[in-house]
């Protein structure tokens, strides 16, 4: 056989054939399209239909965006210039930019304060979000709420200072006594903080805010996307610890604590957020005298926090329930008491499981902050629905304004969701 072959072959290549590029249909864009878009007849049909759909959407929106006007002073002027051709009237965004971001009453010359607070916020939450950063940064995070409060509301620096001292003293007390006796440490710290706040609050002289370094800005003057950010950030950061406490309380063996937590969670989950907001804005003003009302912003923060805490509690409870019983028993067998077992063994694992759920609640909560527009607070949506659409210049501009609001919210919410996915990958240890 081999002989025959040797004789009958007229030509044998002495060198290897140079590598030729793969066939056109097996490489590059063509291959990708063949595999992903046209792999079968139904898929091809779907692809073509989708392309047509995308084209028909873009055909109308692209000229609208590209032709958009940015510098006119009213909708009528926009229409005059466009003269029947399609085009957006983005001028409303440029003219009312400050109102959309800061609300219409925040003093213009003080805009730098929320801006600084925003930049500091990025620094403050960085160590919370990214564990690789030096832990010393957490000190700044702890100080941030007081700094931000002072920057945004202004007024005397004594107010936030007293609040800070209260926390520091309470923390020191807890450090000293809480190690051995959690209950003594915790309740003692709470009582001490209350004493510091009431004594310190009484010591702040009347009218201290009048000539403060930063002029005081009342809560009613806050607005725009700034208000959404503030509400969202405050409520998320307050409701996570509260939600964890509620979830632990619900699992407690003590009937009273368990009862309170169950009633609270089920009550709040059974009531729509908007009714809670109405209670905050309308009903509470009946209870308090007109000149001594609790600040509306604070009332709303409390209501939204309670609301989302109940949801986070249920998410965390799911995480706790998902832990194998052996983990609890392991903690017990090590001789750890309840706070230690929770802090060192149970919660780290349970919270890891709960991350997607907590992020879900956080994103929902952030978007729910737009509900405050129905109780006449001028958040981003409130600004659009109220003052801007009610002005004679801009009445009738809908797509541009609501599209802008949607884009702002999308950026933030998508960011949160990307972060949570990154965090899940990072915490995934792989069993």
């Amino acid at each position: 056989m081999s002989d025959q072959n040797n004789n009958s072959i007229a030509f044998v290549a002495t060198e290897t054939i140079p590598e030729s590029p793969p066939p056109a249909r097996e490489t590059g864009v063509v291959k990708w399209m063949r595999e992903n878009l046209f792999s079968s007849i139904p898929n091809s049909i779907l692809t073509i239909v989708s392309l047509l759909l995308i084209y028909s959407v873009l055909k109308n929106t692209l000229p609208w965006i590209v032709n958009g006007l940015w510098t006119t002073s009213s909708l009528a002027e926009c229409r005059e210039i466009l003269d029947g051709t399609t085009g957006a009237c983005f001028s409303v965004l440029t003219e009312r930019w400050n109102q959309l971001i800061y609300g219409f009453k925040y003093p213009v010359e003080e805009y730098w304060r929320p801006n600084v607070a925003f930049v500091l916020m990025l620094i403050a939450i960085a160590p919370v979000l990214f564990f690789d950063l030096p832990r010393k940064l957490l000190i700044f995070t702890a100080l941030y709420p007081f700094v931000a409060f002072w920057l945004i509301w202004g007024g005397t620096i004594l107010g936030p200072l007293v609040a800070l001292i209260g926390f520091v003293v309470a923390g020191a007390f807890f450090q000293k006594f809480g190690r051995n006796n959690f209950a003594l440490g915790f309740f003692g710290a709470v009582i001490i903080a209350l004493i510091v706040w009431s004594v310190g609050g009484a010591m702040i002289p009347e009218g201290a805010s009048d000539n403060a370094l930063l002029p005081a800005v009342p809560s009613r003057d806050l607005g725009g996307f700034m208000l959404n950010m503030m509400l969202g950030l405050t409520c998320v950061s307050l409701s996570v610890p509260l939600g964890i406490a509620l979830a632990l309380g619900r699992q407690s063996d003590m009937p009273l604590i368990k009862g309170i937590c169950v009633v609270f969670i089920e009550f709040v989950r059974g009531v729509p957020l908007i009714t809670l907001l109405f209670v905050a804005s309308v009903m509470l003003s009946y209870f308090f005298p007109p000149e001594a009302t609790v600040d509306l912003f604070l009332r709303v923060v409390i209501m939204i926090t309670l609301f989302s805490a109940a949801y986070i509690a249920e998410v965390v409870r799911g995480g706790l329930a998902a832990l194998p019983k052996g983990q609890y028993e392991a903690a017990d067998s090590l001789g750890l008491d309840y706070p230690q077992a929770m802090r060192l063994i149970i919660l780290p694992q349970a919270l890891k499981i709960s991350i997607p759920g907590i992020v879900n609640v956080a994103v929902g909560l952030f978007k729910d902050t737009t509900l405050v527009s129905v109780i006449s607070m001028f958040d981003l949506v409130g600004m659009i629905r109220g003052p801007i659409l009610a002005s004679t210049e801009w009445n009738g501009v809908y797509w541009e304004l609501f599209g802008f609001a949607a884009a702002l919210f999308f950026v933030v919410c998508y960011g949160i969701s990307q972060y949570s996915q990154w965090l899940e990958r990072k915490l995934h240890k792989g069993h």
Binding site: R79, Y286, P289, A292, S376, G386, S391, Y398
Partner: protein, 338 residues
């Protein structure tokens, strides 16, 4: 602990509310600011401009009262209220007066315990249709689809009107005015019905206002005016006569332009009484003698406020109609300053 705080606050609230109800006028003077409830935004009636300054027809009333009481039209804290929060804000004392397109009705006056001090705009429910529909009267609307805001008196008025005229319609329920504009323009309904001033304002924002007509029928009475709480008649008088001062000023030809020379004294004793150069009307109200002058200078007389905010020279373009002075065949009428 929390409970005792709440109960304590309740007690204090009860006491303070009793004390506060004694003299809103004194409260306002002591505070140096008038808390005036307005809408969160209604074209021409109340809305902040690009600089955050509140402008509008209802806002003008607030400023006039502030000028009359405090001498400064800028001494107003505008408290934006929605249709849902406005009455509680007034009843709880959060605001001293409400100037927010509120229809004067029996139940609001009697049952909710408010005092309507007058009417600054006579409105009524009207219809808007596209011109190409070729309709010239609301009675020709048999079988039409009608965009209507749910939960409002307009909904009930509409049902009454169609039933009494024995014609049928199909309602398209909508939530807000903005939604209504979109639905109407998109052709989801043949007719849009709401207050005539709202229709005019809405039409003014259309790309081609001339393609839409307002039908002549007005099917309801919507007298809009400022209101205060029951129980403080002295404060009610202050607001009532501040509004009347604006109306009387127009009737007597006192404008923000000529008020300077008129305040020096005129031959017309009523003008002199209005502007405080004669008589002691201000003292009777517990205000300074030039309260009427201040109120008028805040934004002009009634006619000037109307023309500047919602009149025919503005994009809203409302005709005076019912809101002309009684001497011109309208309903705007002030009792005499005597």
């Amino acid at each position: 602990m929390k409970k005792s705080v709440v109960f304590g606050a309740l007690t204090v609230a009860g006491l303070a509310a009793g004390a506060a109800a004694a003299g809103t006028l004194d409260d306002v003077k002591a505070r140096g600011k008038l808390n005036c409830g307005v809408t969160t935004g209604l074209v021409g009636f109340a809305a902040p401009d690009a600089n955050g300054e509140w402008m509008g027809f209802d806002v003008g009333v607030c400023r006039a009262v502030a000028a009359a009481v405090l001498g400064d039209p800028k001494a107003v804290e505008f408290v934006p209220t929605t249709g849902k929060t406005r009455f509680t804000a007034l009843a709880s004392g959060e605001i001293d007066m409400l100037a927010r397109n509120t229809t004067w009705t029996f139940s609001r006056d009697v049952d909710l315990k408010f005092t309507f001090v007058g009417v600054n705009y006579y409105d009524g429910q009207g219809f808007m249709v596209p011109k190409e529909l070729g309709v010239s009267s609301a009675k020709e609307l048999d079988g039409a689809t009608v965009c209507i805001q749910t939960g409002t008196t307009t909904e009930l008025n509409l049902a009454d009107f169609f039933r009494s005229n024995n014609i049928s319609y199909e309602p398209v329920p909508i939530e807000t005015n903005a939604e209504a504009q979109q639905q109407y323009l998109a052709g989801a309904c043949d007719v849009y019905t709401t207050d005539a001033s709202g229709l005019a304002a809405t039409r003014a924002t259309f790309e081609d206002p001339s393609a839409h007509v307002l039908l002549p029928e007005i099917i309801s009475k919507e007298p809009l005016g400022p209101l205060v709480r029951h129980g403080d008649d002295n404060w009610g008088d202050v607001v009532r006569w501040s509004l009347n001062a604006l109306i009387t000023a127009e009737e007597l030809g006192v404008t923000s332009a000529n008020i300077g020379e008129m305040a020096a004294g005129t031959n017309n004793p009523e003008i002199n009484r209005l502007l405080g150069t004669e008589g002691n009307l201000g003292e009777m109200l517990g205000l300074s003698a030039d309260w009427g002058k201040n109120a008028i200078m805040a934004g002009g007389n009634y006619g000037e406020l109307f023309e500047g905010n919602i009149g025919e020279s503005t994009p809203i373009g409302l005709a005076r109609g019912l809101n002309a002075q009684w001497t011109d065949g309208g309903l705007i009428y002030s009792p005499p300053f005597r």
